[in-house]
């Protein structure tokens, strides 16, 4: 499974989206992506990819595309 597929899975599970919706997910347009949803997403990414995200990266991540770029840094 590629990193992108793994990330899609995480968005689908965390926010209850379809895979197509997950790829286009943006914070302000995703009802389940509130502050608690964001914590759950960041925890799932850390566990799923075995990484520890820096606080500033956690703050900046507001879309699927940004999450993809963020993961590539680790």
């Amino acid at each position: 499974m590629s990193n992108k597929e793994k990330l899609i899975d995480i968005f689908v599970t965390t926010f209850g989206l379809t895979p197509a919706e997950a790829e286009g997910a943006v914070f302000k347009n995703t009802p389940a992506w509130d502050s608690v949803g964001h914590v759950n997403l960041m925890n799932a990414i850390e566990e799923g990819f075995g990484i520890s995200l820096e606080p500033d990266d956690i703050l900046d991540c507001k879309s699927f595309a940004q999450a993809e770029t963020m993961i590539a840094k680790y």
């Binding site: 502050s35 608690v36 964001h38 914590v39 850390e46 520890s52 606080p55 703050l59």
Partner: protein, 368 residues
């Protein structure tokens, strides 16, 4: 200067008062507007970590602080006449004026030769209050100081506030020669003043009938006398600021922040606090939590941890503490100290225990 160190001062003891009534979050209803329609009560508890909290629509912060202070004075054997200062930290004062510290001076029977003042801060308030008390006592000019901190009954009825619990704490601070005292780092970012705010009831937006009109706020009905929180902003602030202030303090005074016995964090939200613990690579066994039973109790949360979660492990024993408060303001503070603190048992207060407060004069009030 955001760093400060005070020697020859210590915490002699802490106590906490809470309403006896327990409000469960498992009976919350989205239909009644008590939680967002996005969650079931069970999901709300799982997401926030708050299953229940102490609640009273009668007891004020000063009522709970009074009960805690009485217990603390008795347990320490302090004479009331020896208390030279009382500092009240809260955002739920008894009255718009006078300062609640003045009311507590009289109610506790403290000397009229007593320094008394209020500090209006929330989640960072205990650390800030402690820094003021420590500064006053470290020179020996004030020998015994009471710090009362917490939040309880609101300025307007607010029955459903499922994250927040009612509590007040009393901390006895005293001059103590040769004590290593405290090291602090504190900070402020007022540009985030509206991240946590009660919009009406100050002089900027005075109370008016419209203050009680309901509107939607993050999926729940709110009026302008209720606490409005921008969840994402507060989360972002918490997970970045808490690790930074702790690391800054450790770097400034060249100590290893991983060497402490207990890490007492403001109880904001379980998931947020878990992430802070993970970012700092702390041992979770050294980071007690009271979210489940007490919720977010504002400036009471740190000393309430000592009373409700680790009393048996720390009471009268020399331990190393790192405490960090962060929240409304935006404001934050971290303090480290190594001391043996006397910890009183939790004081539970009944609504019927209160018979105090201003009464309107009887008779014709038509000309008032």
């Amino acid at each position: 200067m955001a760093f400060c160190e005070y020697k020859n001062v210590r915490i002699a003891g802490v106590a906490a008062g809470v309403p006896r009534t327990i409000a469960s979050n498992l009976t919350l209803s989205a239909e009644r507007g008590e939680i967002s329609a996005d969650y079931t009560p069970e999901q709300f508890v799982e997401l926030t970590g708050v299953k229940e909290r102490r609640y009273s629509d009668v007891l004020t912060t000063s009522d709970l602080g009074f009960a805690a202070a009485l217990r603390l004075l008795a347990d320490l054997g302090w004479e009331k006449s020896d208390v030279e200062a009382i500092i009240f930290v809260s955002q739920t004062a008894d009255y718009a004026l006078p300062a609640t510290a003045c009311i507590l001076q009289d109610r506790l029977g403290l000397s009229k030769e007593c320094f008394a003042m209020d500090i209006v801060l929330g989640c960072s308030g205990w650390v800030y209050g402690l820094s003021v008390a420590a500064a006053m006592a470290s020179s020996g000019q004030f020998k015994k100081i009471l710090l009362v901190a917490g939040d309880a009954k609101r300025r307007a009825p607010q029955k459903f506030d499922p994250l927040f619990g009612c509590a007040a704490t009393a901390t006895a601070v005293e001059y103590a020669e040769r004590s290593d005292g405290f090291r602090f780092h504190v900070g402020t970012d007022g540009s985030g003043y509206d991240a946590i705010i009660i919009p009406d009831s100050g002089s900027r937006n005075q109370v008016k009938p419209e203050s009680f009109e309901m509107h939607d706020w993050e999926g729940r009905p709110y009026h302008n006398m209720m606490t409005h929180m921008k969840g994402m902003d507060v989360f972002s602030f918490g997970i970045t600021t808490a690790p930074k202030t702790i690391k800054k303090l450790a770097e400034h005074y060249a100590f290893d922040y991983l060497s402490y016995d207990y890490y007492l964090f403001h109880q904001a939200n379980m998931k947020m606090n878990n992430m802070i613990v993970k970012k700092l690579k702390l041992d979770p066994a050294k980071v007690p939590s009271e979210m489940y039973n007490f919720g977010n109790t504002s400036s009471a949360s740190i000393p309430l941890l000592m009373v409700t979660q680790i009393r048996d492990q720390i009471n009268g024993q020399n331990k190393k503490f790192l405490c960090c408060g962060f929240g409304v303001g935006l404001s934050w503070g971290t303090v480290v100290f190594e001391q043996a603190i006397k910890v009183s048992p939790l004081v539970e207060v009944d609504d019927s225990d209160v018979n105090y407060g201003y009464k309107l004069p009887e008779g014709d009030l038509s000309n008032v």
